[in-house]
C-alpha cells in the first residue's frame, strides 16, 4: 500500500464519522424524516476497507446501517443527507430515507430495512454479470443479525453452486438491536459457516483497516474469478441500535472497552507514528471534512420538501400505470 492510499483510507473513515455525527444532529433536531436512524460509528474500517477495494461498475446492497458503505463507494453527502431529511433532491426523492437509500449510477442496489432482505439481490446481480460476461462483482453488506436469516444461506448456496462473482460481507458489530451475538448465534465462527457452503472465507479485525483491505482485496479477486467469497469483520457498535437507544442491555464498562477499538484513532496513530501525516495536517484534514459535512447538513435542512403529487409517482413505470388517488376517485 502506498502512503497516498493510506491517507485516502484515513480520509474516507473520517468523512464517515463526521457525516454520522451530523446526521445524528439532524435526527435530534427533529429534521430527519425517519423515526429510525442507525449510525455506523465504530464500523468505518469495514466500510472503507472493502469499499476501497471494489472497482467501478461493481454493485452492492447494504443493511439498515449502511451510510458508511455508501459514502465509501462515492456517495455525495449532500444528497445523502437530503434523502435522510426526506427532501426531493435526495437520492430517492425523499421516499427512501436512511434505510432505503440507493443510487444506480454508483452501483448501490439499495439499503434494506428487512434484515437479510437485500442479500439475495447481489446473487442476481452476479448472475447478470456472469450471463452478460461483465467483469464485475456484486457485494452484499449486512450485520451479524443477518447471519441468522435463512435467505443468507440460500444465497451462499446459490453463489457457490453457480460460481458467481458474488461477495458477502458481514460487519459484525456484536449486536442485533439489543441482543449480543453470543446470545443469538450457535457459533461465533461465521467464516466456518461460509466455508461449509464452499465459499472462500476469512475473518478480519475491524479495528485494523489494513487487515480489512488485505483480506477484502484477496476475496474480491477470488469472487471476480467466479469463486464466491465471504468476509466477516469484527468491530464494535459504539452507540445504541438507533440514535436514541441508550443501550440498557450492556454495561458502561463494556461500552468503554468497545470504544477503545476505534479504527480511526488506531489508524491515525499508525500514520502519525510512521510520519505519513503530521498532527497539524491531521487537524487541518479533520476541519476540512467537518466543513464539508456541515455544508451537507445545511444543504439538507434548506432543501425543498417534496410536492404532495409526487407521492403517486414511481409506484409503477410511468408508461404503464399510476395509482388513482382517493381524492380523485371520489372527486373530493
Amino acid at each position: 500500500m502506498t502512503n497516498k492510499q493510506r491517507l485516502y483510507l484515513l480520509e474516507q473513515m473520517l468523512r464517515i464519522r463526521s457525516f454520522e455525527e451530523r446526521v445524528g444532529e439532524l435526527f435530534l433536531k427533529g429534521e430527519s424524516a425517519g423515526t429510525m436512524l442507525h449510525l455506523s460509528i465504530g464500523e468505518e474500517a469495514a466500510a472503507v476497507g472493502v469499499g476501497a477495494m471494489m472497482q467501478d461498475g461493481d454493485s452492492f446492497t447494504t443493511h439498515h446501517r449502511g451510510h458508511g458503505v455508501f459514502l465509501a463507494r462515492g456517495a455525495d453527502p449532500k444528497r445523502m443527507m437530503a434523502e435522510i431529511a426526506g427532501k426531493e433532491i435526495g437520492y430517492c426523492r425523499g421516499k427512501g430515507g436512511s434505510m432505503h437509500i440507493a443510487d444506480m449510477s454508483l452501483g448501490h442496489l439499495g439499503a434494506n430495512a428487512i434484515v437479510g432482505g437485500g442479500i439475495s439481490h447481489i446473487v442476481g446481480a452476479a448472475l447478470s454479470y456472469k450471463t452478460l460476461k461483465k467483469d464485475n462483482v456484486s457485494v452484499a453488506f449486512f450485520g451479524d443479525g443477518a447471519m441468522q436469516q435463512g435467505i443468507l444461506y440460500e444465497s451462499f448456496n446459490l453463489a457457490a453452486l453457480w460460481n458467481l462473482p458474488a461477495m458477502f460481507v458481514c460487519i459484525n458489530n456484536q449486536y442485533g438491536m439489543g441482543t449480543r451475538v453470543d446470545q443469538s448465534s450457535s457459533t461465533l465462527d461465521f467464516a466456518a459457516r461460509a466455508k461449509s457452503f464452499g465459499l472462500q472465507a476469512d475473518t478480519a479485525d475491524g479495528q485494523d483497516i489494513e487487515d480489512v483491505v488485505n483480506k477484502a482485496k484477496k476475496l474480491l479477486k477470488q469472487a471476480r474469478a467466479g469463486r464466491a467469497s465471504f468476509l466477516t469483520i469484527n468491530c464494535y457498535r459504539f452507540y445504541g441500535h438507533a440514535r436514541k437507544d441508550k443501550s440498557p442491555y450492556r454495561s458502561e464498562q463494556e461500552e468503554t472497552a468497545g470504544r477503545q477499538q476505534d479504527p480511526i484513532s488506531f489508524w491515525e496513530e499508525n500514520l502519525v507514528k510512521a510520519k505519513i501525516i503530521s498532527n497539524k495536517k491531521l487537524e487541518t484534514l479533520k476541519k476540512e471534512i467537518d466543513l464539508e459535512m456541515d455544508a451537507a447538513l445545511s444543504f439538507a435542512e434548506n432543501a425543498k420538501k417534496p410536492e404532495l403529487a409526487t407521492m403517486f409517482e414511481d409506484v409503477y413505470s410511468p408508461k404503464q400505470a399510476k395509482p388513482l388517488s382517493n381524492k380523485a376517485r371520489l372527486d373530493l
Binding site: L109, S120, I122, V123, G124, L127, L132, L158, S317
Partner: protein, 331 residues
C-alpha cells in the same frame, strides 16, 4: 419459430404459455427462466418443456428449493440488465418468498425514487381441482392485489395466456402471473390479436339481464352456467377480468349499469377477498343503476380439503352460479 403458423389451431393453455416464453426468448436475449424443475424436468406442469434443450443451462436455470432466494436472485438480475422469469411452482409457496415479493420487488421502484424498476415476471399457478390439499390448491391473488407495486395477471383462455404473458415480458415492473392448474390441458383456438394491454377485461359473453364478473378458472363455470340459463331465457353477460391489477373497473361498471344486476364469482376465499373489492367498486360506480344488491359467490372460508367431493364443494361451480343468478333475478 414463426408464431403465425399456430394461428387458428386448437392448442392447450399450457402450449400457449410455452409459445409465449419461446417466442419472447428468441426475440430478447435478456430473458432467462429460473426456478425449481424448470429445465431438465421441463417444469412441474410442463410449461417450460423443451426450452432448456433449446436455450441451454445459461438461460433456463434449475434452482435448488429456495423460493425466497429464487425471487431475490430474479430481483437482483432484473436490476442489472436481465429480464428474468422466475417460476414459483405453486402460488402457495409465496409464503416462503413473500418478503422478496411484497417488501422487495414491489417497492424497489418507489423506495428508490423511480431510479429503477424490477422487470421480472413471477410465473406461478394456483387454484383447486387436483386434490392437492390445503398447501397446493389456494387462490392467493388477493395477497398480491393488495400490494402496491405488483401487476397481477390471471388468464383464463388460450389466447389470453399467450398474449398476457408476452405483454408481461415487456413490463418494467414486476408482474405476478398466476396460471390455473385446472386449465393447463384446456383447449382453445389460438387467435391472439395484435396486442392485449393489461387492464382490459373481456366480455366473454354478451347479455342484458345480469352481469357475472369473474376471472381465471372460475370463468368456465360461469360460461357453462350462462349456457344453461339461456335455456331458461335468462340472458347473462359474463366479464373476464383478465388482470386484477390494473383492474378494469370501467368495463364492469358499464356492464352492471346496463344490466342492473351483478354476481361476482371467484375461487379465492370470500372474506376480504377479490370479490369484496369488485363489489365495492361496482357499487361505487353503478349504484344508481342497481336493481338488487350485488351478490358474491366465492371460495368457502376454509383450507382446501383433499377429499375430491369436499374440494369440489369448496369453490363455486355451475349449479351454484345458476342458483345465485336465479335468486338475484327472482326467476
Amino acid at each position: 419459430m414463426n408464431i403465425t403458423e399456430y394461428y387458428g389451431q386448437t392448442i392447450t393453455y399450457r402450449e400457449a404459455l410455452r409459445l409465449a416464453l419461446d417466442e419472447a426468448m428468441e426475440q430478447d436475449e435478456r430473458i432467462i427462466i429460473l426456478g425449481e424443475e424448470v429445465g431438465r424436468y421441463g417444469g412441474a406442469y410442463a410449461v417450460s418443456q423443451g426450452l432448456y434443450e433449446k436455450y441451454g443451462a445459461g438461460r433456463v436455470l434449475d434452482t435448488p428449493i429456495s423460493e425466497a432466494a429464487i425471487i431475490g436472485t430474479a430481483i437482483g438480475a432484473a436490476m442489472t440488465g436481465l429480464r428474468p422469469v422466475a417460476e414459483l411452482m405453486y402460488v402457495d409457496f409465496a409464503g416462503i418468498a413473500m418478503d422478496q415479493i411484497a417488501n422487495q420487488a414491489a417497492k424497489i421502484r418507489y423506495m428508490f425514487g423511480g431510479q429503477i424498476g424490477v422487470p421480472m415476471v413471477l410465473r406461478t399457478q394456483g387454484g383447486p381441482g387436483r386434490s392437492a390439499g390445503a398447501q397446493h390448491s389456494q387462490s392467493l391473488e388477493a395477497w398480491f392485489m393488495h400490494t402496491a407495486g405488483l401487476f397481477v395477471a390471471m388468464p383464463a383462455t388460450v389466447s389470453d395466456a399467450y398474449q398476457l404473458l408476452k405483454e408481461a415480458l415487456q413490463f418494467d415492473d414486476p408482474v405476478i402471473f398466476i396460471e390455473h392448474k385446472g386449465l393447463y390441458t384446456s383447449k382453445g383456438i389460438f387467435e391472439p390479436g395484435t396486442a392485449l394491454p393489461f387492464g382490459k377485461a373481456a366480455i366473454a359473453r354478451e347479455g342484458s339481464e345480469l352481469t357475472i364478473i369473474t376471472y381465471s378458472g372460475a370463468l368456465r363455470h360461469c360460461l357453462a352456467a350462462a349456457e344453461e340459463l339461456d335455456k331458461l331465457a335468462i340472458d347473462v353477460e359474463v366479464i373476464d377480468l383478465r388482470t386484477l391489477n390494473p383492474l378494469d373497473v370501467d368495463t364492469f361498471v358499464e356492464s352492471v349499469s346496463k344490466t342492473g344486476h351483478a354476481l361476482i364469482v371467484t375461487e379465492d376465499s370470500l372474506t376480504a377477498g377479490v370479490s369484496a373489492e369488485i363489489s365495492a367498486r361496482a357499487q361505487e360506480g353503478a349504484f344508481d343503476f342497481l336493481e338488487e344488491p350485488i351478490m358474491r359467490l366465492s371460495g368457502e372460508d376454509i383450507p382446501i380439503p383433499v377429499a375430491p367431493e369436499l374440494e369440489l364443494a369448496a369453490t363455486p361451480k355451475k349449479a351454484d352460479i345458476i342458483k345465485a343468478v336465479r335468486k338475484i333475478l327472482r326467476r
